[in-house]
Symmetry: C2
Subunit: 280 residues, 2 copies
């Protein structure tokens, strides 16, 4: 899916919501534990309940890998279900990968090359610490995206990302300056946390056209209106992720309908923001 | 395995060799492709051929994930085989993980918590970009290790790791200064590439006691003698990794014996270096 198609999808659904599938088996409703694959069953019901209001889904690979082979099986079924919706969803492997070139090429196959790995996500999150050759292999797949960590939503972001270099740019700014040359706004996005919404304005000065994946709205406390105010561009330019606040809206039998209500609430707020920006 | 036990193992085997299991199915001898699990069969023969000369094995998870569920199965069998050697091997998941705290906790389970994931590596490589809470969950497992990327062996390392901050420390130095406070020399190691052997001396000034995992000797061109000269401490303090130069020493039927010869050559050079240092 290219940038225009993603923008078209946003206009069609009047939403820039990404639902994070951080599907912790310890937090899913207990009545699902009797099914053959409780995590897939949970994801299936969440996806079906929220698909009208979400443009993207972001399985967080850690929550699947922590269950070993069974977890990877749940993930594969989840991605297959998402792919069945065709261009109605954008899929993101939240994996934070990054290694030397020949190894990143293998990670790229793991998430993009269905023929060898069984997985065909539209995008993957990548860590920039190892530099250009650690990210480039992800950009070699036409139509696929690398979403590079810039400024993350966690407390530890302060440890290194905000360190100022002798050229007066902070590390996350340097990542933006340098890495945008590795690809373009049609194959690179950036992660910028909603917990630092005012920083989005500074990010926008450096990368005016790129999409930003913005975690941290919802359970982590970021404000949707602030994120839109500082982060939107003329193709929307933001995907706002919410995970726990949607998928764990209830831990009872009504979890799916409660997740739908949460997603719809966010979509309605997003629709208003898109209208205010004159995009729909 | 704690630091003293690792040092004891090094003294016993007179080796600080780590064999990197970057077991690319496209590069393994073609006669193995007929077996049920060619990659596991390859790993098994490599491990059995080199176990006398290697203290550690480091499966590179990318090469398994790129084959999807089948790859994860090959990995699980490989790790089980390695664990059957008990305290005769130290096992490293080369995964370069790192995410916000609650997610890193899941990645830690994925590699350390056998009861839930089926995997029980001794150590895992982690990326520092997201800071303290992205690494801490790996340190919560007693007896396990986080091996933090400091200065990597690839060209892209220059993009960010060598950037000098306003306090005159380069990013990789700052990572060393800051992250050593998150744990201690019994649960943290650092990745420092052999392609920059002279930098090892500067690393040693900051972290005199920590073990360093040193990739880049062999195919990537680093010199073992230089690495030992700059990097060794009084508990050896280095694990030198070689991957392709050992496991792909031959692509024919003799691949196992050729890998043994390569590993033995390295062990003999290491024995000399350990003797010169007065450690054995």
């Amino acid at each position: 899916m290219n940038r225009q198609q993603l923008f078209d999808l946003i206009c069609q659904k009047k939403s820039f919501l990404c639902v994070g599938l951080d599907s912790d088996i310890k937090k899913i409703p207990s009545h699902l534990l009797d099914s053959d694959d409780p995590v897939f069953e949970f994801n299936k019901q969440i996806i079906e309940a929220t698909i009208d209001f979400a443009v993207a889904y972001k399985p967080n690979l850690a929550f699947y890998e922590s269950r070993g082979i069974k977890g990877v099986e749940s993930l594969a079924k989840t991605v297959n279900l998402l792919k069945s919706y065709g261009n109605q969803v954008f899929t993101i492997a939240d994996a934070k990968r990054g290694d030397i070139g020949n190894t990143s090429a293998q990670y790229a196959k793991a998430v993009f090359d269905e023929a060898v790995s069984g997985f065909s996500f539209d995008a993957v999150t990548v860590a920039p610490y190892m530099g250009e050759d650690s990210v480039k292999p992800f950009l070699d797949f036409p139509g696929k995206w690398a979403i590079i960590l810039a400024l993350t939503s966690n407390k530890g972001a302060d440890d290194f990302q905000l360190i100022e270099g002798t050229d007066s740019s902070r590390l996350f700014e340097r990542v933006l300056y340098v890495s945008q040359k590795w690809g373009n706004a049609d194959n690179i996005m950036y992660v910028v946390g909603a917990t630092r919404a005012e920083m989005l304005a500074e990010v926008r000065k450096i990368v005016p056209d790129h999409f930003l994946l913005v975690p941290g709205v919802g359970s982590q406390g970021g404000s949707l209106r602030e994120v839109a105010s500082y982060g939107m561009n003329n193709k929307c330019g933001i995907l706002v992720n919410a995970s726990r606040s949607i998928i764990f809206a209830s831990s009872d039998n009504d979890f799916a309908i409660k997740s739908r209500i949460e997603a719809q609430n966010m979509q309605q707020e997003m629709e208003l923001l898109l209208m205010e920006k004159g995009l729909i």
